[in-house]
């Protein structure tokens, strides 16, 4: 598998990023007026308050906002891990708003990948077994070459037999990315992927995610992959194609091709 060189970040103030390979292609993930509330009665908290947003294929969007702004809830609703109280969620062309558990399981198997802040590798399994796990769960034919290639892509070809506790944090996160990419999902959801890493490991992880977005789809003509990333880190957010800002459950801003400093400044004004 080869990846093209990272494209240069769009300068500040440019028009919105291109909408995938074809302007007619549906977005990989779309939220339409999504409302999510927690609790009941006087203690009700509206985590998402009518959010509409589309994440096109072949793009990388960072979601930012102060604590409690609803960014994690947005990620959970978009990934079908949490149910929207109102509105619609469409993932890979399927409306999953009221989908039964079996449909969601199937969706997670075939179309979605996850990368977490705390890596979430299965401690009992080796790196190779962790990467192979989603395929085995999907009962797909296990292709050892794909597994090894995925590990080689993240620079861990020689660590396949190691268990997570024998790897550094950065290495564990790379295994997690290899796991998420081995099945070539339509959408990769990342929850603070660099949150527990030193700056050098974080850079490596961000470079890997860039390669994911920029590589072409698995088959000719199939859409490229989409990355949705929640983060606190302006440097990580600046690596994405676009940054959206949430406050009190509402989308309040969107920057395209911004620098880390621009992102940090915007975030600081939101937190005031």
């Amino acid at each position: 598998m080869t990846f093209p060189a990272p494209r240069p970040a769009a300068p500040y103030g440019m028009p919105p990023i291109p909408q995938g390979p074809s302007p007619l292609a549906p977005p990989a993930v779309e939220l339409q007026s999504v409302v999510r509330r927690y609790g009941s009665g006087d203690t009700t908290v509206t985590a998402l308050d009518g959010v509409s947003i589309a994440f096109p294929s072949g793009t990388w969007t960072a979601v930012m906002g102060p604590s409690g702004s609803g960014k994690s809830t947005l990620l959970h609703c978009a990934a079908g891990l949490d149910r929207a109280d109102e509105g619609r969620v469409v993932v890979a062309g399927r409306d999953i708003t009221r989908a039964p558990e079996a449909v969601l399981t199937d969706l997670r198997r075939r179309s979605l990948g996850f990368v977490f802040q705390n890596f979430n590798l299965v401690g009992a399994l080796t790196a190779e077994q962790n990467v192979a796990l989603p395929m085995r769960l999907a009962r797909a034919r296990l292709d050892r070459r794909t597994v090894r290639a995925a590990l080689a892509d993240v620079g861990l070809a020689d660590r396949g037999k190691h268990r997570p506790r024998e790897l550094s944090g950065g290495q564990q996160q790379r295994v997690a990315i290899a796991r998420a990419m081995a099945t070539r999902p339509d959408v990769l959801f990342a929850d603070e992927p660099t949150g527990a890493l030193d700056s050098r490991s974080a850079r490596t992880v961000l470079d890997l995610m860039r390669r994911v977005v920029d590589s072409p789809g698995p088959q000719d003509g199939s859409p490229a992959q989409c990355v949705v990333m929640v983060t606190h880190d302006p440097v990580a957010a600046a690596a994405a194609d676009a940054v959206v800002f949430l406050r009190d459950g509402r989308l309040v801003d969107r920057l395209v091709g911004a620098s880390a400093r621009d992102v940090a400044d915007r975030l600081a004004t939101l937190e005031d």
Partner: protein, 644 residues
């Protein structure tokens, strides 16, 4: 999925160690019981044994068989219980892992397959261990049965290859049954829990616990409220019911009840910050406290409740016997010597019961069907007139006067066997068969091994009467000092002279000893399981708390203080567990207080209670210190940062 089951099993073997041990123990017991039962099924009766002795042996084997069946059943039940709590624990601990599996595309059936896979592995490993362990266990069981006199020394258990299949089935069956509830719960883990750190927030009080616990406690309350109106038999049933229902109810509700009882320990928090921390942890760590206290509640309630009930029954029987005797002394001698008692000066009446070494075949009616029954023991030859003079018990049908010639009378021991007056009984007396008519029937008494049948002395050949063991109840004439009569009786040198009270107490003592030997086997087994369950819960909880302990140390506690605080908490839980168990046991005995003898007949097994309290505190303290020390071995900084 199977490979993953295996990896998890290997990775988390410490969690499964307790469960594995119980399955090994359970399979071993089932196997040993099967083999001993096989040996007892076709008893080897030594050549030259008299028919009466052979019959006694067969009865003994039958009794041993049912005792072993009971231990095997109990072993299975308790193993399922412990496997269940272990799996519940591992699922609670692994919620994040299971949620991750779901996030990565694992379906509910796949999660269930994973856990059932672990259960099958546990079962197979447990069976393998149990098959090996069952062999020495079989010899131990055989030794226990022969040394306690339940079976003769010639007994040998039997090996059969079929038992291997039974052992594997038992092991896998126990593990699978035990894991069902936890597996179903695991399948309900939502994928979102992998992203949010809410693993620990899982509910401890499940709906099943609520329903089961509240129903059982309501039943207990109902029975306790009925204690004032119950007769002795009712009080016995209530005691048994309350022991079981109360133990199950309180242990089901233990996540609720134990922290609540923890409030009672509040006065101890004045003794310093460690005591305060321990009390707070006890109330906060509901799952942990409940899992440790529940087996203590069950064990204490059942062992103390049932032991006290059986002891009380024996004592009540003794009190009943004493009440029904009009006389001061009982002389144990041969039949020939007993004949001399009546002529001793100062003896107003002497009634001799001589053991009749005969076999009676009686017809009994049960559920409208007539059946034959052979009676071999508890048959006594009496003189009806003398008997009436020293005993107050009157027949419920027929009279003492009719007990003459070829007649028999159903004693209190066969009052509930459905024997009717007017029916015929066949007696085998020294090889000759004689047809007897049942002329009278006695009412039931509280004594467990009461006299079964009375026959007239004239029925037995004189030499048989002369040699047989006899007990003579002596009534001293008015105006005579009983002690003088006792001395005169002792001067005859014909046998043992006891006061009625001492004689009855000895009878009670014999019965209690009999109870104890059976209860010891059953309760010893339950105690082993309770210990495994307690240690298991504490070890699992200890490993879970590494991070908590590390944080406590970073806050300024020394390692020693952490160990002390955990020890205090464990002692608090033990106090609550044993205390609640004793509450149930004493509630179970309430019914006896309202009987005719009041507290006099209450047999509270104080030695047993002291043993249980010491044992519970010893085991929980030792386990607590060892697990806390091992959990606090690494430097606190490395653990405080780690995500469990």
């Amino acid at each position: 999925m199977w490979r993953m089951s295996w990896s998890t099993f290997r990775e988390r073997w410490t969690l499964f160690a307790g469960a594995l041990l119980t399955v090994v123990f359970g399979v071993g017991l089932v196997q040993a019981s099967i083999m001993v039962s096989l040996g007892a099924e076709d008893p080897a009766i030594p050549a030259g044994t008299s028919p009466r002795e052979a019959e006694r042996l067969r009865d003994a084997y039958e009794g041993a068989g049912s005792l072993l069946g009971m231990t095997a059943m109990l072993a299975c039940f308790l193993a399922v219980f412990i496997v269940g709590s272990t799996f519940a624990f591992t699922v609670a601990q692994r919620r994040a892992d299971l949620a991750l599996l779901r996030t990565l595309g694992g379906s509910r059936p796949q999660v269930m397959t994973l856990l059932f896979g672990e259960a099958v592995l546990l079962g197979l490993l447990g069976s393998a261990g149990g098959i090996l362990f069952g062999i020495p266990l079989m010899w131990i069981q055989a030794y226990l049965l022969t040394s306690t006199g339940i079976l003769p020394g010639s007994f040998a258990p039997q090996w059969d290859n079929g038992v291997l299949i039974a052992s594997v089935c038992a092991g896998v069956g126990m593990a699978l049954t035990g894991s069902v509830a936890a597996t179903v719960r695991a399948a309900r883990v939502r994928p979102l829990e992998a992203l949010r750190e809410i693993g620990g927030a899982a509910r401890v009080m499940t709906l099943g616990r609520w329903i089961w616990g509240v129903t059982m406690l309501a039943l207990t309350a109902l029975m306790v409220s009925g204690e004032g109106k119950a007769d002795f038999l009712g009080a016995m049933l209530i005691a048994m019911g309350v022991s079981f229902a109360g133990a199950i109810g309180l242990s089901s509700l233990s996540p609720l009840v134990v922290p609540l009882a923890g409030h009672l320990l509040r006065p101890f928090t004045r003794f310093g910050p460690l005591a305060e921390l321990a009390q707070a942890n006890l109330r906060d760590g509901r799952r942990r406290a409940a899992a440790t206290a529940a087996p203590m509640i069950v064990l204490t309630a059942l062992v103390v409740g049932l032991m006290a009930m059986l002891g009380t029954q024996a004592k009540a029987g003794g009190a009943d016997v004493k009440r029904r005797i009009v006389g001061e002394y009982v002389v144990t001698s041969t039949g020939a010597d007993a004949a001399r008692i009546a002529s001793v000066p100062g003896v107003q009446a002497a009634s001799t019961s001589t053991v009749a070494d005969i076999v009676l075949t009686v017809s009994r009616t049960e559920d409208g069907r007539r059946q034959k029954k052979k009676v071999r023991s508890g048959i006594f030859a009496i003189d009806p007139a003398a008997y009436q003079a020293t005993h107050t018990l009157k027949p419920v049908s027929g009279t003492f006067g009719e007990l003459r010639g070829r007649a028999a009378m159903a004693g209190p021991g066969s009052a509930e066997d459905g024997i009717r007056t007017g029916t015929t009984a066949v007696a085998e007396i020294g090889g000759r068969k004689v047809r007897l008519k049942v002329v009278a029937r006695m009412p039931a008494t509280l004594e467990n091994n009461a006299d079964a049948f009375f026959v007239p002395r004239s029925l037995l050949p004189p030499d048989m009467l002369a040699k047989a063991e006899s007990e003579t109840t002596v009534k001293v004439a008015a105006g005579t000092n009983p002690a003088d009569v006792a001395n005169r009786l002792r001067d005859l040198r014909i046998g043992k002279v006891e006061t009625v009270s001492a004689w009855a107490d000895a009878r009670v003592g014999r019965q209690m000893k009999e109870n104890n030997s059976v209860m010891m086997v059953l309760m010893g087994l339950s105690a082993v399981y309770a210990i495994v369950a307690i240690v298991n819960a504490m070890v699992i909880a200890g490993t879970e708390r590494r991070r908590e302990f590390a944080v406590a140390r970073l806050t300024g506690l020394s390692r020693r203080q952490v160990v002390q605080a955990a020890l205090l908490e464990a002692s608090g839980v033990t106090l609550i567990g044993v205390g609640l168990g004793l509450v149930v046991a004493f509630a179970a005995l309430g019914g006896f207080l309202f009987g005719p003898s009041g507290t006099e007949i209450l047999a509270v097994p104080w030695t047993l209670i002291v043993l249980i309290v010491l044992g519970a505190f010893g085991i929980s303290s030792l386990t607590s210190v060892l697990t806390t020390r091992s959990a606090t071995r690494p430097a606190p900084v490395t653990l405080a940062a780690a995500r469990e």
